[in-house]
């Protein structure tokens, strides 16, 4: 298929439909409105269903029902709306309901701003709902990657029976880039619907989605099953990252999403001045890639995000050297420039050596 130009939000919706998503429930919020708008127009054409829910809370609980019924289903929102969806995400985790949640981050806290941000890194990777759990979080750095990751997300969700979050900043949703839509996601083994999904139980059997384990020992047993079986499998099979100009690097940025693109400019500029610097770009934020941080040649890690440093602890844990992790970022909907990163590196590290 030839490349087409698409806005990130529309490309995400299109990719979901191509991945077999036939149900979308959501609620309007900037900067992701093109997602529900696209679904409302296109889903009926492929026999699918779009529901504009009365709230974010209702939307995620519709997703819970549709996902429990074995359908490929998605919802999307932006930061304050994702905050509202957290309850339902937790129910989907406990009920082991596959679904895809797209989070198009804007500045916070509270109503915040509608400009792009990455300040929901912790909300996405550290829960946000209650209880012991993880969900896979994919962080695309381009419209193309948003398309590819949405497709992968449906596979991951079904394979491990878990909600999956595609975490983007508002800029990825708003920008247009050429995309190829024919990427086939990695096929994974899927549990048969007859073993768990509502409406698919064989005659004489019952499929139930349980959310309350009133007996504590059983609740503990279930949690341990997740942490001993499901999460290690996801950590082993689904972790992704990109290394950019890292071969001979002595310093490395760590960044994802739009900020990582800005930092690529900074890397190229600093390289041109002779500095051996590169970029590690986590594409999954949970599981967080550990391997690139085993690189002992790196003297300093410079974390760059559009927040106040939410990824810093993950980088400190991964590289094991708290004192060697620096941070520069902008928050509240402000986007840093390559020049700001170049200046930061020169000031902190003295530039080329």
């Amino acid at each position: 298929m030839a490349k087409v130009m698409m806005k990130g939000n529309e490309a995400i919706a299109k990719a979901a439909i191509l991945a077999g998503c036939r149900y979308f429930m959501g609620y309007p919020i900037t900067p992701q409105n093109e997602v529900p708008e696209y679904f409302s127009r296109e889903l009926p054409l492929v026999g699918g269903t779009f529901v504009q829910a009365e709230s974010e809370v209702a939307a995620i609980n519709m997703v819970y029902g549709a996902g429990a019924s074995g359908a490929r289903v998605m919802t999307s929102s932006s930061s304050p709306g994702i905050a509202l969806k957290q309850e339902g995400i937790g129910y989907c985790v406990k009920g082991e309901i596959p679904c895809v949640v797209v989070s198009m981050m804007r500045g916070g806290p509270g109503l915040g701003t509608i400009q792009p941000s990455q300040s929901d890194y912790l909300q996405a990777t550290r829960g946000g709902s209650n209880g012991d759990y993880h969900i896979p979080v994919l962080a695309p750095g381009s419209v193309q990657e948003a398309v590819d990751f949405v497709k992968e997300s449906f596979e991951i969700a079904q394979c491990y029976r878990t909600p999956v979050m595609v975490l983007c900043d508002g800029l990825i949703g708003q920008m247009m880039e050429p995309v190829e839509l024919d990427h086939e996601p990695t096929k994974r083994e899927m549990p048969d619907l007859s073993t768990w999904a509502l409406g698919y139980s064989p005659k004489g059997k019952t499929n139930t989605v349980i959310n309350l384990d009133i007996d504590a020992p059983n609740c503990e047993k279930e949690n341990i099953r997740f942490f001993e079986e499901k999460y290690p499998a996801i950590e082993k099979n689904e972790v992704r990252w990109e290394e950019f100009m890292m071969d001979d690097a002595e310093y490395a940025f760590v960044s994802y999403g739009t900020t990582s693109r800005i930092i690529k400019n900074a890397v190229k500029a600093l390289r041109a001045e002779g500095m051996k610097i590169g970029l590690v770009r986590p594409q999954t934020l949970w599981p967080f890639p550990q391997k690139p941080f085993e690189n002992k040649n790196i003297k300093k890690w410079i974390v760059g995000e559009m927040n106040m440093g939410q990824m810093v602890p993950d980088v400190q844990l991964a590289c094991g050297r708290k004192e060697d992790v620096l941070f520069y970022g902008r928050t509240g909907g402000m986007i840093p420039t390559p020049e700001e990163y170049i200046d930061f590196v020169k000031k902190e590290l003295g530039g080329a050596k």
Partner: protein, 184 residues
């Protein structure tokens, strides 16, 4: 380093600045170049100026946004003129819609083209063509893409059912190019 164009298109809503950017972007893609298009959105879009940032490059694009270092600015109204003229890189080009902007650029390190786009559009009998006229001037001077690629992109952006509008758009591109060439 390859050739990288950083283009800002700005004006009132309704002047076609967003689609002007999209046409450039799409045309760049059709020519096999690396491209990005980023709109300003939200309150910025209401009442004041609409604008978009376009990059057309021979090499992979890192940051899709740029605040300064603009190589081509298209300003369609006074607020856009005031906002974007200072952000153009030395040696860059500024295309001013002189039909409604009386101010002159007070810089001597940039190339400036005053195009009376509204007047030319009126001569062509279609006020909506002013963005295409500006685009004709832009691609004639800055050689970002071929003007034929813009017409191919036109069908991609607006759909094949708009094919009947191709001749008038071709004429508008030519008029804009012709006017800009005279200013060189």
């Amino acid at each position: 380093m390859g050739n990288t164009h950083k283009i800002s298109c700005a004006g009132f809503g309704g002047q076609g600045v967003m689609s002007m950017g999209q046409l450039l972007t799409y045309a760049g893609m059709l020519e096999g170049k690396e491209v990005t298009w980023v709109p300003a959105y939200g309150p910025e879009m209401r009442g004041g100026t609409a604008n978009c940032s376009v990059i057309v490059s021979d090499e992979p694009i890192g940051s899709p946004i740029f605040d300064t270092g603009i190589t081509t600015a298209v300003v369609m109204n006074l607020p856009s003129f005031l906002k974007f003229v200072p952000k153009v890189a030395p040696g860059g080009s500024i295309f001013v819609n002189s039909s409604i902007i009386e101010e002159k650029v007070q810089r001597d390190d940039v190339k400036v083209y005053y195009i009376p786009a509204n007047d030319i559009a009126r001569e062509l009998g279609n006020d909506k063509l002013l963005n295409i006229i500006m685009l004709g001037a832009v691609v004639e001077i800055d050689k970002i893409v071929e003007s034929e690629s813009i017409l191919k992109a036109f069908l991609k952006v607006f759909g094949d059912h708009k094919a009947k509008l191709i001749p008038i758009n071709r004429e508008a591109l030519a008029k804009g190019a012709e006017f800009a060439k005279k200013l060189e």
